[in-house]
Symmetry: none
Subunit: 211 residues, 4 copies
Amino acid sequence: MPRIAASDRDAFYATRRQALADVALKLWAERGYDGTSVATIAGEAGIAKGTFYLYFETKGALLLEVLRRNSLVPNVLALIEDLKTRSLEEAVHGFVRGAWRHLASQRDLLLVALREMPTHLAEAREAVARVLVPANAALARDLDARIGPARAAELSTVIAVRGLVGMIVVTFLTQEILGAGQLLPVPETEITKTLAELFLRGVAPQKESAS
Amino acid sequence: MPRIAASDRDAFYATRRQALADVALKLWAERGYDGTSVATIAGEAGIAKGTFYLYFETKGALLLEVLRRNSLVPNVLALIEDLKTRSLEEAVHGFVRGAWRHLASQRDLLLVALREMPTHLAEAREAVARVLVPANAALARDLDARIGPARAAELSTVIAVRGLVGMIVVTFLTQEILGAGQLLPVPETEITKTLAELFLRGVAPQKESAS
Amino acid sequence: MPRIAASDRDAFYATRRQALADVALKLWAERGYDGTSVATIAGEAGIAKGTFYLYFETKGALLLEVLRRNSLVPNVLALIEDLKTRSLEEAVHGFVRGAWRHLASQRDLLLVALREMPTHLAEAREAVARVLVPANAALARDLDARIGPARAAELSTVIAVRGLVGMIVVTFLTQEILGAGQLLPVPETEITKTLAELFLRGVAPQKESAS
Amino acid sequence: MPRIAASDRDAFYATRRQALADVALKLWAERGYDGTSVATIAGEAGIAKGTFYLYFETKGALLLEVLRRNSLVPNVLALIEDLKTRSLEEAVHGFVRGAWRHLASQRDLLLVALREMPTHLAEAREAVARVLVPANAALARDLDARIGPARAAELSTVIAVRGLVGMIVVTFLTQEILGAGQLLPVPETEITKTLAELFLRGVAPQKESAS
DNA sequence: GATGAATGAGCTTTCATTCAT
DNA sequence: GATGAATGAAAGCTCATTCAT
């Protein structure tokens, strides 16, 4: 004879876990994992220190949960589907803009992931294998199809896709988080345009435009 | 009246500091700064905990020393000078290869820098302003001159350079550290070649080659 | 939903703080502030080292609390009020006896205060300014009124009062703490009587008694 | 075949010990015994840390030496001899002035002695028995003789003498060290005059002067 | 004699985790 | 379920003392 239906209880439990994960992500992004005590997380979530352990076995378990719940990698397959009917040019521009927005919305996760990656290399590798590599491969296949076998033979599309992501991530990091945007200001639209353009045609002078 | 000549003592002192910095860099890359105690560092270096403090005032001072001694950013001005007489094509290929090798030699530093960056955002920003932004600007100027004003008007060379660095760093990270190299194997020479090619001409089909 | 009523918890908390303050005062009197570790204090109070920090933020905070809770200076204004209707003779005898008893009850505090005074000169000066000097001035005013302007012009009552307190404190210290009482035994009543008599009439032969 | 004659070596040794004792007294008065490291003392004395241990077995041994070498108690027997031919009045005034000057010259020792007394109660008691009690007794005998048996029967001269010393010490302490001199300023000559006068005749109105 | 590098015990303080209520 | 008092391991750092040179 539980007062609360099992499903309600489960829902409550899940909500609490979610709340704790949200709070932890925010705090860890600010002060780091080691720099944020369980008491602080619990307090910020409005529960007592001891109550925390009803929802997570250890502090480390919460970290894993946070990393599992959120993802730096957007739903790439849906994205590919979305952009299927667009030209390569449009698709790349759309991808860059979307990725930039995704990063902006996951700023905290990016910081936490960077910080904890070296310490949890094994888990990071597992996540890469599970999420990043398939996404990378799917995008590479799509790109292969778009640029044709001749060009695909000249460069590794797997690497090209990863290069594109790298451009976006590092530029976002330096621009938005590390303050380079204040020292070398470039409007956001020009950034995403430049990155897409770079991916599409590179920096080299466009000889054909001279003809 | 010391038995050891001052120069010998200084040399010994410098050697010890170097040894401690090396050990610390290695351990921090594995377990993080907070996760590695002074006792562990000292022990790994073969000295007692207290002895550590004869060489560094605090644990934090050792971190600063490690960061000062090593740099993720190679001497960019020298690099520009070096590549001055080369064509853009050669210069970019050389730059990518050089950067990749530099990262490989600073693997541990890269991990430490990533890990500690979010926690020491203020210092990271200062370092970016002092080192990264000037290097970025210098490379952008060089690139401006090479690609001519017409093309430079079409994209931000500041962002383009940062994009290039981003490609290299992230690709290195996923390939060499996060294990993507084992799942989607691509030879190193093809990686650097692809990244340079991407930066120079992009992925888009080379229309002029059709002519 | 705590099981213990808030008032009970507060009472327990206050009791613990008091117990820690008592234990600390005793230990500090024996071994000094620096010579007594938090672990020792906690252990003597029957709690673990870490538990100490639930009751006091730092070791220094406990010192302040101990000094705040106890005072070497009795409530001088109340004392003056009390003795208002008595003759000078009775008032002085009463003051000396009261001060002696107060010192006996604050033996440990006296030792701690003496021990820490040189190290915390600034705080000691502040305490002197806040507590001792006003008490000194109030007693001097009372004495001024009692002995009349003629005699008050011949000696500084501020100094006289301080001299009286000095007699009492130093005699108590040598007699009760430094063991002089065993080597030159004098009954306590004779001590207080002598000190009061000394303050009132000095040692010089009482010429008027000859008449 | 020593290069240095034994006596020279001994003299050098004694000089070093003296220098260390002087330096230690000064530093301890400022920062306390625990607050002053052996390295600081040695450094201030111009020798290396290790060299210190050629002159004193431990830090504690230096403390004992400092306390043994200096004395808060002036040569009382000589003083009595000096003042033998003076009247009681003159003798007391001279004693107070002399004691005040002695304290002023031993300011550092006073602070160190106060600070360490509670921690070294056993030694302090021994010193009291060896130095203070005999001086106290000698002064009491002298006073007995001066005031005559009638008055001596009415008060304990042992306590009276101790009271006199207490007045002087505590007044000196509050006035010169604890800053009361700035808040309730009284010229030094008036202080010593008041204390002597207090000891001689007390504060009570001089009835006989009215006659 | 003189040195100062080396040591490790010991300090204050923090915090993940447990558990009686 | 919820609480927060209690714990003790572990951290960074200091310093009296030793000892090879």
